[in-house]
Every structure is written in structure tokens, then in C-alpha cells.
């Protein structure tokens, strides 16, 4: 690590000039918070030289405001009050960088998710809060050091977890970009759930053919190492240098675990089919009620020469499909799942899958009466609507039931049909219908696969729907909150084969970009020791859990040899445990110092922003830069 007291745009002694920019977020913020008032009040802060509000700070013109002020008005610190920093902190850091300012001389204040969106009924209170938060941001940024990213050498290798079509697509794409791949599949064969499918929409290819083609590509690639019957049981390290422990299920001994070093990880663990509860639409109570995957499996096994549809040993003359089973559930209407929540999300793929299956039934068994009972039809993909139109033209009857009145099924004994479905059709006048049918097919949705052990290895973020949660579907698709770990396919939510493979390609490209250079840059938020303040008491060492992160060393200071704490940034995780133990505050986490937090509290309790003290540029706007880390995790 090197520390100097130089800065191109803010040399020691220059006054600190903060630019404050308050975003409207197109009304998301300014409909609640008086953004002009916030900007006006912050203009009274003794360190603020420019304070403006703008419609969209993240837009190109918004960023240009900042860049122009840095260049023309000699702004040397920037505060943007806008959405969550998880969305645009990087956007604005890059803007500072383009303007020639150290990108870490920036503070992002969240006044959307944590102010305007949660105080809708109190505009004045929300505005008052925003003023205090932005003032706290100003107080933090005036105490901010110039920081430089930690550079980490990378392993040009990726571990892909899951050998379904998404995992295989990602593996092939990664290998095609010159990266080594370890493809870890828990099962005994590649292919996942697609291998179970007969024809897939919209191409009408056979699922087995798709899997076979991808398996051939995987097998033919020298850079892909396939590990069947294996699981990831350990995950250490960080982006660029993960250490992944892979264990074969046939091997009982930990001694035979395989340690794979990888720069990135792609998770493609897929989904599970929803299993209806006992009695849900008659499921489990009557053999005439089956799930869509089971019905598709029966169709696949049905010989082409067979002219009548058979199920449960009897001829099927009428079949009803019920949509949204296990999806779009309503609290109070549907029974909760094991975790006490209902599946309120749409499984997206089941409408088209159902209509596609109906078309297969109509083509092969034109004499079978088909009924489709739905909340509404969501054939969202290109060409998917055609299945609906064709099914309708071929005679399928569609009934729309109310959200809170799912159809019921009552089995009959000895009747002509297996039972009767009762539903109300809101496409007419709310007519109540009784439909005698031989078979009921439940269009079951997708649920997250149980990957708790994998999630626990790295505390992977899980969404409210229990699928893995990407950071942002538009801004940072397929990324998860842990740098270097990417998502491919239905592990992040219901999607069809096309979408899963597209996500896999995206994950592969993002991993390839990450690992394209010999080093990647990480945020420099690790512990730093101020040698002048450190008195060598060694209390910090007792607090550090990470071996080698913090050690004592003899340093030359003012012509004398002194014993001081020193940090190894390769080993430090930046937790700050050492910080609290240091009486003279010599050790801090770069970018998150105790002095900064004290000043933020001062701003929060201050009654008047203008009364906050002017902060002089310290005789040490420190410049903290680390050497390239090339070894270890």
C-alpha cells in the first residue's frame, strides 16, 4: 500500500468544494420530496459550492451536469441524492472518473427507496429527512480519502453449477471464449428438466434432441470438465479468485474433494415443478386429476398409432386444463406453502405450455373435448399467442374464473365421466357452470429448487419469491449481490428454455468480460492503518479473525524504528472488527471511517445545515493505493 498526500484536482490546501445534486427520478422522488427545497437548503452548507436538482441525474445530461461542474466550477467532492446506491453508485463514480476526479470522492444518498417511497403521506417530513440525509452525505464526503481500486489477479476459469440447458449453454459459451469450465451436475446425466419434454414451443423440437445437441457440444469441448453426480460443498475467496470445493456424491471421504480455483461462478440450478396440495382441485383424491408435466409425460409415451387418448386405464373423451395452479396465489384464498407464504408470482411459462399441450391433444385426438379454465391468458412470447388462437379455432372452450374462486372438482362414482368441474365464468355474466370431464390437468407453475446448502455457502440473496435474486432486471441482469457470481436460467425465476438460454449467454458474457484481463479491480474498502496514530498496542490483532490480514511490523517513522500494525489487503475482508478495538482510531476501513460516521450523526441531529462547521482540507487528503494482489484468496 502507498499513501501520499497528493491529489491532482484537490491538492493539499485547496478548499473543499462539494457539488450536491438532488434527483427527481422523474417524480418518484419529487412527487413526495421538495427537491428544490433540499437543494436550496444544502446550498447553505459551508462546504457546498454547487447545489442543484434535476429530473434524472442518471441520464447523460444529468451526469454531464456533474462533469461540467467538476471541470468548470472546480468541484472536488460530489453528493448525489437519488435512488439506492446499489443501482447507480457505480454510474456516478464513472462520471467522476470521466471528469478526472477520483471516483471515490463521491457519496450516494438514498432518498427514494428509503425516503420518498416510504413517506408518501408526509411530504414535509420526507423533505426534512432528505435534507438531513444529504447533509450527512456531505459531511461524509468531505472527510473522504482518495482511494484506488484493489487490483486482483484472476483465474481464467469458471465453475458452472447445474447441468441443465442453461448450465450447458453457459459452459459452451464460456469455453468458446477461451475460459476453462468445470460443469458440476448433481444428477447422473446432463439435461435437467428439458430432457423430460417431448416437443417444445415454439420450435417444436424434441427436448431430448436439444439436450443431446448441447451434451455433444459440452462433451466435445476440451476446456469443459464435466463433474456428474457432484455438488459444490465449499465456496471461499472472492471474485477473480474463488476456491470451490466439489464433492462427488459417490465419495464419502472429504479427502477426495476436488478444489477448483475459479474467477467466476455461474449458478444454473433450475427449478422444481409445483406439487399441488392434497385436495387442491381434487389432486390426490381422484386419479382423474393430474399435473401438466405428468400429462405431457403420458402423451410422450402414448404411441403415435394410438387413436384415442387414454388415462388411468380409461378412454378420455373430455379434458379440462386449469391454469395458475401454484402460481398467482392469493393470501387468504390459497393455502400457504411450507414457509407460510403463498406463491403470488406468475410462473409465466405455463399458459403457453398449456396451450401448446392442448394443440397436441387436438392434433392427435380431434374427438376429445377440451376445456381451458384460466384467470387470464398470458401468452407473452413471440408467436405464443398463435397457440391460443389455434386452440380456440380448433374448438377448445375457454372459461375465465375469478381470482378468488378457483374451480373445484368433484369425482363421480360410476358415472359416464370421471367427475365434474364447477366454476364461474366471468367472460359471460358470471354464469356458474358444471362441466363433466374424464380428466383434469393442472397447469402447475415453477417453484424454486431447494438449494439451501449452496445459498448458505455464500449467503446468496433470495427474493420474496424464494428464487435467487438478481440485482436489477434491467440495470444488472443475471448479477447477484455477490461479485463474481452470476445467474443462468430458472434459478432466478420462472422462464422458458429460450429465456433460460439467453440468460445463460448473458451470464457467460459477463463472466468473460470479468475475466478478460489478467487483473480485475475491486473496491478498496479494506482496513488501513494510520502509522502516525498507531501506538503499536496490538489490540486490533486480537479482534481479527482472518489469519494474515493484520500483522505487526517494524516501520521507519521520523527516523525511528517503530512497531506498527500493517494490513494485507489480499487477506482483509473489510469487516472493521479491528476498527472498534483501536483506542487512537489509527485503523479504519477505507471509505468508511469512524470520523465520517461521527460527522454524519452530527449532521442528522443538526437543526440547521448552515450551522454545520466548515471542514478545511486536511493536510492529508490521503491517497490510498494498493499493489496488485496476485496470490492467495
Amino acid at each position: 500500500m502507498t499513501e501520499t498526500n497528493t491529489s491532482a484536482l484537490n491538492p493539499s490546501g485547496d478548499p473543499i468544494r462539494v457539488g450536491v445534486y438532488v434527483c427527481h427520478c422523474g417524480g418518484n422522488i419529487s412527487d413526495i420530496i421538495d427537491t428544490k427545497a433540499v437543494a436550496a437548503e444544502l446550498a447553505g452548507h459551508p462546504n457546498v459550492a454547487v447545489s442543484n436538482d434535476y429530473m434524472f441525474m442518471c441520464s447523460d445530461p444529468g451526469q454531464a451536469l456533474i462533469i461540467d461542474d467538476i471541470k468548470a466550477n472546480h468541484i472536488n467532492r460530489v453528493v448525489v441524492a437519488a435512488c439506492s446506491p446499489t443501482l447507480h453508485e457505480l454510474t456516478f463514480r464513472k462520471a467522476l472518473h470521466r471528469a478526472g476526479l477520483n471516483p471515490y470522492l463521491f457519496e450516494h444518498v438514498n432518498i427514494r427507496e428509503q425516503a420518498s417511497w416510504v413517506h408518501k403521506g408526509d411530504h414535509e417530513g420526507a423533505t426534512r429527512k432528505a435534507v438531513r440525509l444529504v447533509a450527512a452525505g456531505v459531511e461524509k464526503v468531505v472527510r473522504q480519502d482518495e482511494l484506488f481500486p484493489i487490483k486482483v489477479g484472476v483465474e481464467p476459469h469458471v465453475v458452472v453449477v447445474g447441468g441443465g440447458v442453461a448450465g450447458m449453454s453457459a459452459a459452451v459459451a464460456l469455453a468458446g471464449r477461451g475460459l476453462g469450465v468445470t460443469l458440476v451436475e448433481k444428477g447422473v446425466a446432463l439435461g435437467g428438466r428439458v430432457a423430460d419434454l417431448d416437443r417444445v414451443y415454439p420450435t417444436e423440437e424434441r427436448g431430448a434432441d436439444l439436450v443431446q445437441d448441447l451434451t455433444r457440444q459440452v462433451g466435445g469441448h476440451s476446456r469443459i470438465d464435466v463433474r456428474l453426480g457432484s455438488e459444490v460443498v465449499g465456496l471461499d475467496g472472492h471474485v477473480g479468485k474463488f476456491a470451490v470445493t466439489v464433492r462427488a456424491s459417490s465419495v464419502a471421504s472429504e479427502d477426495q474433494d476436488r478444489l477448483v480455483r475459479a474467477g467466476a461462478i455461474v449458478i444454473a440450478t433450475g427449478f422444481d415443478h409445483y406439487r399441488p396440495a392434497q385436495g387442491e382441485h381434487g389432486f390426490g383424491e381422484s386419479p382423474a386429476v393430474i399435473t401438466l408435466p405428468d400429462f405431457q409425460s403420458a402423451l410422450r409415451q402414448c404411441p403415435a398409432s394410438q387413436t384415442s387418448l387414454q388415462a388411468n386405464g380409461r378412454s378420455v373423451r373430455s379434458v379440462a386444463f386449469i391454469h395458475c395452479v401454484g402460481s398467482r396465489q392469493i393470501d387468504g384464498v390459497h393455502a400457504p406453502q411450507a414457509d407460510g407464504k403463498v406463491n403470488d408470482y406468475c410462473s409465466r411459462t405455463c399458459c403457453t405450455a398449456t396451450l401448446h399441450t392442448i394443440r397436441q391433444v387436438q392434433s392427435r385426438f380431434p374427438d376429445v373435448d377440451v376445456y381451458d379454465l384460466h384467470k387470464d391468458i398470458r401468452t407473452y412470447g413471440r408467436g405464443h399467442e398463435a397457440y391460443y388462437e389455434e386452440a380456440s379455432r380448433a374448438g377448445a372452450l375457454f372459461f375465465r374464473f375469478p381470482d378468488d374462486e378457483p374451480p373445484t372438482f368433484a369425482a363421480s362414482t360410476g358415472g359416464k365421466c370421471a367427475g365434474t368441474i364447477t366454476t364461474r365464468d366471468i367472460l359471460t355474466w358470471g354464469e356458474e357452470l358444471e362441466i363433466p370431464v374424464d380428466l383434469v390437468v393442472l397447469a402447475t407453475g415453477m417453484v424454486p429448487r431447494d438449494i439451501a446448502s449452496l445459498i448458505d455457502l455464500r449467503k446468496l440473496p433470495v427474493g420474496a419469491d424464494r428464487f435467487l435474486q438478481e440485482v436489477h432486471p434491467k440495470l444488472r441482469p443475471v448479477e447477484i449481490g455477490v461479485a463474481g457470481i452470476l445467474l443462468a436460467g430458472a434459478c432466478q425465476g420462472p422462464m422458458d428454455i429460450n429465456e433460460a438460454c439467453t440468460a445463460a449467454q448473458t451470464a457467460a458474457v459477463k463472466a468473460a468480460i470479468l475475466l478478460a484481463n489478467p487483473t480485475i479491480e475491486l473496491d478498496p474498502f479494506v482496513a488501513v492503518v494510520d502509522g502516525e496514530r498507531c501506538d503499536g498496542c496490538e489490540k486490533c490483532l486480537a479482534e481479527c479473525e482472518y489469519k494474515g490480514a493484520l500483522t505487526m511490523a517494524d516501520l521507519q517513522l521520523a527516523g525511528a524504528t517503530v512497531r506498527r500494525a500493517v494490513v494485507n489487503p489480499a487477506m482483509c475482508v473489510g469487516c472493521g472488527a479491528c476498527v472498534a478495538a483501536c483506542p487512537p482510531r489509527a485503523v479504519n476501513v477505507a471509505g468508511w471511517t469512524l470520523d465520517q460516521f461521527d460527522a454524519m450523526v452530527d449532521a442528522i441531529v443538526a437543526e440547521d445545515v448552515g450551522a454545520l462547521a466548515h471542514t478545511e482540507c486536511r493536510a492529508g487528503v490521503r491517497h490510498i493505493e494498493f499493489a496488485v494482489i496476485s496470490g492467495g484468496n
Binding site: 426534512r128 472488527a577 472498534a580 469512524l594 450523526v601 441531529v605
Partner: protein, 132 residues
């Protein structure tokens, strides 16, 4: 302005867990008092005992430490934090500060209800203590 809104509650959140959790509350448009100030930190284990005591002295009415609990990605950080908060409680008692003004809790990325409950309870505790 309600009495709750006039309070200044400092909410210390972790970058990996409770800060995204606070965002989730916002994304769900769930409402709470504006007398709440969320600060994000890598981990609250970094704060010495004095930070809490000084904050109370400056005028902060209540502090909720929304840690990652057992989900904390930093080895040993949560037990250290828990012990430290215990020591802060002892010093608060010595100084005659109502200990209900400090709460260590665990909030995950989707703990919406728990997030709101902690704020509500802290407000009630502070107002009750003020009234006594």
C-alpha cells in the same frame, strides 16, 4: 407532525443484508416514520462503544443495529458485535440512559415486516421512556 416523526432514530444497516432489506421495504411501498435515518456500513462491528454513547449525547433518540446476525459473512463479527452491545448496555445503565433506546436485531434482505416492527417498537419505547 406526530410524536414519532419528531424522533431521531439512527438505523445502522449492513451492506449485504439489512440495507437491501430497507430497500425492499421501499420497493414494496410500505410506510414508516420519517424520523428514521438509515446509515449503511460494511458491518456494525466496526463501531466502538463510544460511538453509541456519543450519538445519544448528541441527540439521537434511539439506535437500531440491524445486523446480518447468523447470516453475517464476516467470520466472528456477530458474536463480537453482540458482546460489544452488551458492554454498551452496561455503560448506558451506569450513565442513566434507558437501555431500550438501543436495540441489536437481525434483518435480512426481505425482512419487511420485521424491519417495520423494529422501528415501531423503538418509537414506542422511546416515547414511553420520555413520558415516564
Amino acid at each position: 407532525m406526530s410524536p414519532e416523526d419528531d424522533l431521531k432514530i439512527l438505523i445502522i444497516t449492513t451492506m449485504i443484508s439489512s440495507y437491501p432489506g430497507a430497500n425492499t421495504v421501499g420497493q414494496a411501498r410500505l410506510q414508516y416514520s420519517p424520523g428514521t435515518f438509515i446509515v449503511r456500513v460494511p458491518d456494525p462491528v466496526m463501531f466502538p462503544e463510544e460511538f453509541y454513547l456519543d450519538s445519544f449525547a448528541k441527540g439521537i433518540d434511539g439506535i437500531i443495529i440491524m445486523s446480518s446476525g447468523s447470516d453475517c459473512p464476516y467470520e466472528g463479527a456477530y458474536p463480537r458485535l453482540s458482546k460489544r452491545v452488551g458492554r454498551v448496555y452496561a455503560r448506558m445503565k451506569e450513565q442513566g440512559i434507558d437501555t431500550s433506546r438501543l436495540k441489536l436485531t437481525t434483518i435480512c434482505t426481505v425482512c419487511k415486516a420485521a424491519f417495520l416492527k423494529e422501528i415501531r417498537e423503538m418509537q414506542q419505547n422511546i416515547l414511553k421512556a420520555k413520558a415516564a
